[in-house]
């Protein structure tokens, strides 16, 4: 009940914010309050119970069977916390760099947050779709209005890629709703559809899964659908990149965990489909790392490293063991933290030097020691050095996927080496090489200010804490991951061809 209250307040805060977000401090206040309120979720969600916590169920469009249903479980809880904690930091990160049309900018951030939280909370497929699309317009405008040089191209590409996937998902959702309604009015409640899907095989399940999978794969982004991501990340303003990387990419993986896999387990676990997904995940891991290696632009390097990290998440999901699933969720969280921090750091140095080209820097550690320290810690966590958060997730994914998918995990493991290569090499060129450029010498005395240190501190704490003592997070997600894996496995066993059963 505590949680329900806090969630309601979250929603109403956002609505109020939309109308009157008159300044950056108001936005910061709203996000700050929201973050504090959502901290209550940590204690109020009973992760082990199979029920949804704080379920709210209101009629919205009864004629179409569309309801306003929200509720959260252990997985959603983590992502909601990630969102509410990243948002105020993202606002602080763009504190001084956003100078034009600030009112509209912060209003859009608030709308965006409503959409993101809505995606994680929705238990009605139509509501989910609406929330899924709601994020699109604010992000499109944020990239397009406050972005860099090629912002027009990047924002349109981002919009179109996401939209083609999600509109196919729309058709699939309607199909599913009509199927669950069984001739009567359609039903779109998540639980009801889950029951209907388990009761019998859905006609055309392969295509429905495909429609969901494409929508989510674009967002993740999986290998062939990833080309929007470097453009969008590079052109977006700092807060936009942080939100894109830390939260919005997670919606794709969340979609797989919440919708695509549990609704169509027999398709998702079909050997061919599974192989395709795993191959694409592994290609993403290796390809992202290799492309990151040759990027001259640091922001683009981080963007490609996201492709690689998210490949780990997909590997973990489709390996379908409890460990790999938990690892996937852990990578999701820790990628949000470390990549968010990386983009914030890039924003800070960009504000000072107005360049992101790695070769323009060198020897920054001598003039900005605090910045150098932060960047080193965050880079290490992004590589996945033991003792940081990045290690835990990737290790769990590899551990969990090795028994069932040895070859894929062997190939994926090589990317840890590549990650070290591209990240350490970039860090070396930025902060450690000799200080020869006069522009960089001029940075002396412009080290991080208190605002910047303050906003990085929670992320650094999270990096170390999750790396040393990840148990609380793992504990929270364990029950949900376990339930998912067992449900999928059960369906797989029940759909095995009958003769095999007889052979035993």
């Amino acid at each position: 009940m505590v949680m329900q209250g806090s969630m309601m307040k979250d929603e109403s805060n956002n609505d109020a914010g939309k109308a009157m977000a008159s300044s950056r401090s108001l936005a910061l206040w709203i996000f700050g309050i929201e973050a504090l309120l959502s901290l209550g979720l940590w204690w109020s969600v009973d992760a082990s119970s199979p029920d949804w916590t704080g379920r709210i169920d209101l009629a919205w469009i009864p004629e179409w069977g569309v309801r306003f249903t929200i509720g959260i479980d252990g997985i959603a809880q983590m992502l909601i916390l990630l969102t509410t904690i990243i948002m105020p930091l993202a606002v602080l990160g763009g504190w001084t760099s956003i100078r034009e049309k600030t009112h509209a900018y912060y209003a859009l951030l608030l709308v965006l947050t409503t959409g993101m939280l809505g995606v994680f909370m929705s238990l009605d497929l139509v509501l989910f779709y609406v929330m899924w699309e709601v994020m699109l317009v604010p992000m499109y405008l944020i990239i397009g209005i406050w972005g860099g040089q090629r912002r027009l191209y990047a924002s349109l590409k981002f919009f179109l890629y996401t939209m083609i996937g999600s509109l196919l998902m729309l058709v699939a959702i309607v199909k599913l709703g009509l199927y669950a309604g069984q001739g009567g009015p359609p039903v779109f409640g998540y639980d009801a559809i889950l029951v209907a899907v388990q009761a019998g095989s859905v006609p055309g399940a392969f295509w429905l899964f495909g429609a969901f999978a494409v929508a989510f794969a674009v967002k993740v982004p999986m290998f062939p659908f990833h080309t929007w991501l470097p453009d969008a990340h590079v052109e977006a303003p700092t807060a936009g990149s942080v939100i894109l990387a830390a939260i919005m990419l997670k919606m794709g993986t969340f979609g797989f965990v919440r919708f695509a896999v549990p609704l169509f387990p027999e398709v998702a676990m079909h050997p061919t489909v599974r192989m395709v997904m795993l191959v694409l995940a592994v290609i993403g891991i290796v390809y992202g790392a290799l492309v990151a290696l040759v990027q001259p632009d640091f922001k683009k390097l981080v963007a490609y490293s996201s492709v690689s990290h998210l490949g780990f998440v997909m590997l973990g999901i489709f390996a379908m063991t409890v460990e790999s699933m938990q690892g996937a969720l852990m990578v999701t969280i820790s990628h949000g933290v470390s990549t968010g921090a990386l983009f914030l750091l890039i924003g800070m140095i960009y504000e000072r030097r107005h360049t992101r080209q790695i070769e323009d820097f060198g020897g920054i550690a001598k003039v900005m020691p605090i910045f150098a320290l932060c960047l080193t810690v965050v880079a290490l966590s992004s590589i996945g050095v033991p003792g940081t958060n990045g290690f835990v997730g990737e290790f769990l994914v590899l551990l969990g996927s090795f028994p069932t998918q040895p070859w894929y995990s062997v190939v994926a493991a090589t990317s840890v080496i590549f990650a070290a290569a591209y990240m350490l090499w970039a860090v070396q060129r930025i902060i450690y090489n000799p200080l020869v450029k006069p522009e960089n010498e001029a940075l002396k005395g412009h080290d991080l200010n208190w605002r910047e240190i303050g906003l990085l501190t929670p992320l650094l704490i999270a990096i170390v804490w999750l790396g040393v003592y990840p148990k609380p997070v793992l504990h929270k997600t364990e029950a949900a991951a376990d339930r998912l894996v067992r449900r999928v496995e059960a369906t797989r066993l029940s759909t095995l061809p009958a003769p095999r059963e007889g052979e035993r």
Binding site: A59, W60, I61, P62, E63, W64, V126, Y129, V130, E133, V134, L136, V137, Y140, L141, G144, I145, R151, L152, S155, L156, F159, L160, M163, I164, L167, L168, L170, V171, V174, K175, G177, L178, P186, P203, G204
Partner: protein
């Protein structure tokens, strides 16, 4: 109350709103001729027309709420479908007149008759919405079209307006020829002109593969396809929409289309349902062609009126999907869709009209660059209309639910139109390209140096924008009420029989 339509007095009573509008229009016509043309007189007649439209709306709502029905099949229908379409038509007429009162000054149009012609066109449309007899359909189409031919050429100082009028008139005359010939052949095949009687004959005589009947259907399809601007009968639309005065363009793009589709749907559902296998593939192909052609060509447009013209062609393609879907659900999805489409189109054209400087007719998308920096509210409103046309949730409000409803109708249709639904959503991704190009120009590009600030927006145009934005966003968050109203006013394909086996366009599949 139940009307017996064979008694003239009761027939007149059932036509009360239509007659009210026509009689009022005639009185206003006399009043318009009373004084020499001037801007004041034009305004006075305009306000009078607006009042008459609102009065007719009240009459329609009264008739709708009175629960009137017809005793048995007659030449006109008395059902919720008719009243809802009437409301959409009157909403469009009100929007047109409101915009025209202020826009006429920019085009130097001083003839007060321009408003009265809108009223006559609207009454023709209302007859179309009611028609249950092919002769009445023809009557309605002619009343509507003749008024529109004149309205398209209302700006006598503009060469383009004259071209638009002549083009529309010549091609429209051809289309009427097709229509009439189609009616004749269908009469020849069935011996009937009344829609339900034709439907019964099609079933009794098994006309699904009868050449004369099918050719008649085809000719009717061509005639109506021209009126709704479905590809490949759409070639007139961009030129006519571009040349006509902007409020009239809105009227043609939204309201004429709604009325023509209303009768299209009724004819196809009531008369040709049993010949589904004969025409479904053709209409589905027409829908696909219209969606693809409209969307792809719209991408190339630099002129916003032409872009919106192609976008209206695209929406015809979407609505053709509702015709193929052939179910009660599809008819309700249709009424919901045209309402959403009318709101968004009128809003968009209100902005276009407000942005046009006096005398000049070329409305380039480039003129909208940086609009957000000088006119934030105008730009935001335009953004809402474009997103509504795109069918985007929350920001496009009701536009999303309209598309949702249509997809649902296609998927739930007994014919199982999954592929058609997929084509619908895929082509609507293309439409993001041109709708967003305007959004991009308004929000993301800087205002060009030396660009003249758009003139002040008149109170009536503001009212049109405010009403449309509020309705689009409000109904987009709480569509439940409207869904209830539209689903109560759907009608089933007649003669309805769930046992009828109908094939699937583009082969089997579901």
């Amino acid at each position: 109350m139940t009307y017996d339509l064979s008694i003239p007095a009761q027939l007149s009573a059932a036509l009360m709103p239509d007659l009210l509008l026509m009689a009022g229009a005639m009185v206003l016509m006399l009043f318009a001729a009373w004084r020499p043309d001037s801007d004041e007189h034009q305004r006075a007649v305009g306000y009078g027309s607006l009042g008459l439209v609102l009065l007719t709306m009240v009459a329609v709502v009264y008739m709708g709420l009175s629960g009137a029905t017809a005793e048995k099949g007659g030449v006109i229908a008395i059902d919720g479908y008719r009243w809802l379409v009437d409301l959409v038509i009157l909403l469009g007429a009100a929007g047109t007149i409101a915009l025209a009162i202020e826009h006429n000054g920019k085009d130097s149009i001083t003839q007060p008759e321009s408003h009265v012609l809108v009223l006559f066109a609207a009454s023709g449309m209302m007859i179309l919405a009611a028609a249950r007899d092919l002769m009445v359909v023809f009557l309605g189409i002619e009343i509507m079209s003749v008024a529109i031919y004149v309205l398209a050429g209302m700006n006598r100082r503009s060469v383009r307006s004259a071209e638009a009028s002549l083009k529309y008139f010549l091609l429209g005359a051809f289309a009427t020829g097709f229509l009439l010939y189609g009616i004749a052949l269908i009469y020849g095949a069935t011996g009937q002109t009344q829609l339900n009687e034709i439907g019964a004959q099609v079933q009794r005589l098994e006309l699904v593969s009868d050449p004369m009947f099918l050719i008649g259907c085809g000719l009717l399809l061509i005639g109506l396809g021209f009126k709704v601007a479905a590809a490949p009968f759409h070639m007139w639309a961009p030129d006519v929409y571009d040349g006509a005065p902007t409020p009239i363009t809105a009227f043609m793009a939204a309201t004429v289309k709604a009325a023509a589709f209303a009768t299209f749907l009724r004819i196809w559902y009531e008369s040709f349902y049993y010949a589904f296998n004969g025409w479904a593939n053709v209409v589905a192909a027409l829908a696909v062609l219209t969606m693809i052609v409209g969307n792809v060509v719209a991408l190339q447009q630099k002129n916003i009126k032409r872009m919106l013209a192609y976008s209206s062609i695209v929406h015809s393609g979407y609505l053709l999907v509702a015709v193929v879907a052939s179910s009660a659900l599809a008819s309700t999805a249709f009424t919901f869709y045209v309402l959403a489409y009318t709101l968004a189109t009128f809003g968009a054209f209100a902005v276009v009209a407000a942005m046009q400087p006096a005398g000049e007719t070329d409305a380039r998308i480039a003129d909208y660059e940086g609009l957000w920096h000088v006119r934030p509210w105008l730009a935001t409103a335009m953004g809402v209309y474009l997103l509504a046309l795109l069918g985007f949730p929350v920001f496009g409000g009701i536009g999303f639910f309209a598309k949702w409803y249509l997809v649902q109708a296609a998927l739930a249709s007994p014919a199982g139109l999954t592929r058609l639904a997929v084509i619908l959503v895929v082509t609507s991704v293309i439409s993001a390209g041109y709708y967003l190009s305007v959004v991009r120009a308004m929000f993301m590009k800087p205002r060009p140096d030396g660009a003249a600030a758009p003139g002040p927006v008149g109170p009536l145009s503001r009212a049109v924008m405010a009403v449309t934005v509020v309705l689009i966003l409000g109904l987009g968050l709480f569509p439940s009420r409207l869904v209830g109203i539209s689903s109560a006013s759907g009608f089933r394909p007649y003669p309805f029989s769930p046992a009828l086996q109908i094939g699937t366009p583009f082969g089997p599949g579901r």
